[in-house]
Each structure stands twice: as C-alpha cells, then as structure tokens.
C-alpha cells in the first residue's frame, strides 16, 4: 500500500515550560523536541500494515521549521521510505491553515491510506486530520485503536466514552490513530539511522491556508499548593474522611 503519515515535531512534555517574551508562545529555552507520541504510533501502524500485507511505501510529511527535518529523519530511521518537509517558520495554532497545506501536498500522491496521530500532544486540538479528509473528500475515521485493511476495504475500531465502535470504509481513506493500536513504536536501529541519511527528503514552502484562530495570550496555570501526608496505614482513614468532609468538601 502507498501510505502517507503526517507527523509533528513537538516539545518534550516533561519540561517545565516558560512563556516566551511575546506572551503568546512557549519559550524554546532548554526544551528538547521529538515526534508527537500519537504520530509515532501512526508511523508504526503504517510500517506494520505494509509488513503484514507485503511491500508498499510509507511517506512521512511534516509541516514546521527546518528542525522538523530531524523528526522526519527519525521516521525514516524507523523504516519509512521518504519524507516531505513543508517549511513554515512557525506552526500556526489554526488547524485549518495547516490542513490546507497538507491537503495540497497529499492531493496528487495517490495514497491508499493517510494516517495522522489523533492529537498533537502540544497544541492538543486534534482537528487537522479530519479537516484534511474533508478537503480531499476522503472517508475518515478518527481516534482509531484497531485498524486493518482487506483489499479495497478497511476496518477500524474507535473508542467512544464507555464503549467501542466498529467501522468499515472503502480505500482510499484517512484515519487518525489513538493509543491502543500499537503498544510501542519501534526504536530506530543503528542500521536504520544510517539508511535514513540516504533516503529522499524533499523540502518546500508550506502553502498555509487562511488563519482565523490565533493566540492572544499564554499563561502558566496556578501551581498546586503543597499537600500533606495525613498519616500512615488504615489508621489515617478517619482523618482523611474528616478533611474530605470539612476542608475539601467533596464528601
């Protein structure tokens, strides 16, 4: 199968974030970057599908600054075949602007399947994949936790609150990948890292769409005030109950 996976370079969420001097961005200082978790699973899912069904090609696409090429190289080292970098110095907060650029790139690619992560762990919007599907007129299933392809048909499961939906759809199609589909994305092997250096990576300007959602301000949420150890063992239970009733007022 010809599969495209759209991936995003995001900050490592373990960091202690600071707001940038402009008040509308996250400061870069001391931040490490990597592929968004869900996108890593989407790359893994694409590689597994092609391994299972014999052959095919996986193209990874990332929109972002020049450093996004490192993220693409990682996916190539995992086993993807080629990369496309859509250059944009700042990744906008409007998923539609991004979706337009990705759709323009994907439109003539003749992909059987296009995968996204369900959500980017930094901007946490989860809108771009479904928008691209609409722009390309493709069948779309979001938040997929199980996926298989049989000839020209795909089947998927998606998690909804308190249950699971099973769906079937014709290819070509677009899916956004949730946790549960793969347990762990593969680590790039040394051989993979060497091979990735020789794989094709094309860079071109992103054709961003119009922006209608923008950031006015960013803030850090109030710190949680330090808690306390109520006590040890079952003996501490009565005091905990008292605090839940009289102080926290949740019981």
């Amino acid at each position: 199968m010809k599969i495209a996976v759209c991936i995003k370079r995001v900050a490592d969420m373990g960091a202690r974030f600071q707001i940038g001097a402009d008040g509308t961005s996250v400061s870069d200082a001391g931040i490490k970057y990597d592929m968004s978790d869900f996108d890593e699973w989407a790359v893994e899912a694409a590689l597994q599908l092609n391994e299972k069904h014999g052959g095919g090609e996986v193209t990874v696409i990332s929109l972002g600054p020049d450093a996004a090429q490192e993220t693409i190289r990682k996916a190539l080292a995992m086993g993807a075949d080629k990369g496309v970098h859509l250059k944009a110095d700042r990744i906008p907060f409007d998923g539609f602007a991004i979706a337009e650029a990705l759709a323009a790139e994907l439109k003539d690619g003749a992909y059987d399947l296009i995968l996204f992560g369900r959500i980017a762990v930094d901007s946490a919007a989860g809108v771009t994949g479904a928008m691209v599907a609409e722009l390309l007129g493709l069948p779309c299933v979001t938040a997929v936790s199980k996926l298989d392809v049989n000839g020209a048909m795909g089947t998927a499961e998606r998690q909804v609150e308190g249950g699971v939906e099973t769906l079937s759809f014709p290819l070509p199609a677009l899916c956004t990948i949730d946790q549960g589909l793969v347990t762990q994305a593969r680590y790039p092997s040394l051989k993979g890292i060497m091979a990735a250096k020789k794989k094709p990576l094309e860079s071109k300007p992103a054709q961003l769409g119009a922006i209608s959602v923008s950031v006015r301000k960013m803030e850090l949420p109030p710190e949680r005030s330090a808690g306390r150890i109520v006590g040890e063992g079952a003996a501490a239970v009565p005091e905990l109950i008292r605090l839940l009733q009289t102080e926290a007022k949740v019981l």
Binding site: F96, G126, V141, G163, T166, S168, I229
Partner: protein, 329 residues
C-alpha cells in the same frame, strides 16, 4: 439572527448526554453576551424530539430535531453535512460542540466544509466585543492559551465537565429539520457498537474518579478500586498506562498524556507512582488523594492529602468509612 449560536447537542440511546446540557449552558451565556438566541440541533432515531424540554430548561430558545432511524448511532458524514448546511442557512455567529469523541470528530469536518478553524477542547468561551474568545489548556495542561476566533462562524468544542449547568430556562420551541444527506449513503459504516455496562459513569462526567496503578498487583484486585468507587456512588474508575498496557483495564480507562484528561472534584490515586505522563491527565482535579506505600512517590507532590501505606490494608477501611460517611449524609 447574526448573533445566534448553534449547539450540536449530543444524544445517545435516545437521550441527551450531560455534555450536551453543558454546551447549551455555555452557548446561553455567550448568546446573552452577544444579544442572540441559542438553537440546539439534536440527531436521533424515532422519538428523539422528546429531549427538547431538557435542552430548553438549560437555555435553548429553539430545538432543531433531526429524526431518522439512521441517526440512532452517530453518523459522521450525514451529521456533518446537515450541521454545515444549518450553520450556513441559519447565518449563525458560532457553533458549539462538546469536546467528546463525537464532537472532536465532528467539529473539524465542519470547519473544513466552511473553511474556518476550530478552537478545540476549550474550558471557557466568552464574547469580547464582537470577538469570540476561548481558553484552551495545552502542553498537557501545563499552559493555558487564550485564543481569539476572528471568522464567522466561530467553531468551538467545549471540554466535558468544564461548564456548570445553571437554570436559564427558555422556550425550547421544537422545529423539525431534514437531514441534508441520506444517512445510509455514508461511505463509512458503523458495523457495531459495544458499550461496557450501560449505567457506568464516564470518566469525563464523573465528579469522583478512583484510579488504580500497578501497586494493585493484579487485574482481579481492581475489585477493591471498584468497591471504593461504588461507595462514593458518583465515581468512575480510571487507570495508569502500566495497567492498561498489561490488559488489566481497557485502554479507554487510561488517564494521562496519551489517555484521557480529567478534572473531577475528587481524584483518588491508588498504587500509582505519579509519573509525569500520568499527572498530565489529572493535575487539574480539584482535590487529589494519593495512597502509596512509598512515602517518596512523586504522586504525593501533587496530592492534597496522602496516606502512606499498603493499598490492601487501606482500601477496605476507606471504602467502609466512605459508606458510613455517606449513610450519615
């Protein structure tokens, strides 16, 4: 007219979900700020119009009912086509969705059709002059972004549990609306839906969450967690990724960076170390209780109240004490 707000009111099994009432409430205060009406559109099988008074009671002036057997379960393509048509013909200033599995799927489809962005998973929405302004937690709730929506319609999905439902009763006048597309003509077919235990409270809706980690040692010991949840009466059960990866609990119960993000009134973490990726999903809970045998476990750094000790000793005692406290009222 130009300041009216459309709400897509999520229904399941013939009734509206709690998140639908919350989104109508959010739309009500937004419409009051802009000087417009709230119209709620609801999709369902035969008889779904019966939910209209519930939507009126929380602030819907008009309830648009799209009744069709094909809408007994969520039908993404036909719902998207109908909502997009309604937004255009009705000239709405904004459309609000719940940031649930359904709303997160639907809102971007409509954004692309109408060629505007979506402000997703917001915890507040308000009018600032003619602008619509939202607050959105990002970077695993470590940053709060204030965003402005400049286009009409402004599309916004509201995080479940973020808005409280008041009493701002309006007429809820029922109008019937036809589907813009034959629901059976969709390319994606729902071939099955399996719901785990009908009465179970969803994590996003539960005021109390009791969450278990690897400290419980085995899948069957989650009965202790379930008993504590049952004692609270209004609690859902969550889990860490260590537990869902081992198959002790379904993936849909996982809380954290790569699972669900929750903010209940009370979060009880049982045998959970408090890895940064877990805390990412529950740090906004109002009150956090942690039970862990390791006094240095990082979970105690975010907990308001901690008990150091063995879950197998403490949980039965806590369950009994919660039952007793609730019995006294």
């Amino acid at each position: 007219m130009a300041n009216n707000i459309l709400v897509v009111a999520e229904a399941r099994g013939g009734d509206v979900r709690k998140v639908a009432l919350e989104v109508v409430a959010a739309a009500r205060s937004l419409a009051d700020g802009l000087g417009g009406e709230v119209h709620a559109i609801v999709f369902g099988g035969a008889g779904i119009g019966a939910v209209a008074p519930k939507l009126g009671a929380v602030g819907a002036d008009v309830v648009l009912v799209v009744e069709h057997d094909g809408f007994a379960t969520y039908n993404a393509e036909a719902v998207a086509a109908t909502v997009a048509t309604q937004i255009t013909t009705g000239g709405y200033r904004a459309a609000l969705f719940g940031a649930s599995a359904m709303g997160q799927d639907l809102a971007p489809r409509i954004g692309a059709r109408l060629r505007v962005g979506v402000a997703a998973d917001v915890v507040a929405v308000s009018a600032d002059g003619t602008d619509i302004v939202v607050r959105h937690p990002m970077n695993t709730n470590k940053i709060i972004a204030t965003m402005v929506l400049s286009a009409t319609p402004a599309l916004v999905s509201v995080r479940p549990g973020a808005v409280s439902v008041g009493t701002s009763a309006k007429a809820g006048a029922v109008q019937s609306v036809a589907s813009a597309m034959d629901p059976a003509a969709g390319r994606v077919k729902v071939t099955g839906v399996s719901m785990g235990g009908g009465a179970k409270l969803d994590l996003a809706e539960a005021p109390v969450i009791v969450s278990g980690g690897r400290g419980l040692k085995a899948a069957e010991n989650f009965s202790l967690v379930e008993e504590l949840a049952a004692a609270f009466g209004n609690a859902a059960v969550g889990a860490t990724r260590a537990v869902t990866d081992d198959g002790w609990r379904p993936h849909s119960d996982q809380i954290g960076q790569t699972g669900r993000q929750v903010s209940p009134d009370l979060y009880v973490a049982v045998g959970i170390s408090g890895a940064i990726q877990h805390i990412a999903g529950m740090r906004n809970s109002k009150t956090i209780v942690a039970i862990n045998k390791d006094k240095d476990a990082p979970i105690f750094k975010v907990a308001d109240y901690g008990i150091v000790g063995d879950v197998f000793e403490i949980l039965p005692a806590l369950t009994a004490a919660v039952k007793a406290a609730r019995a006294q009222g």
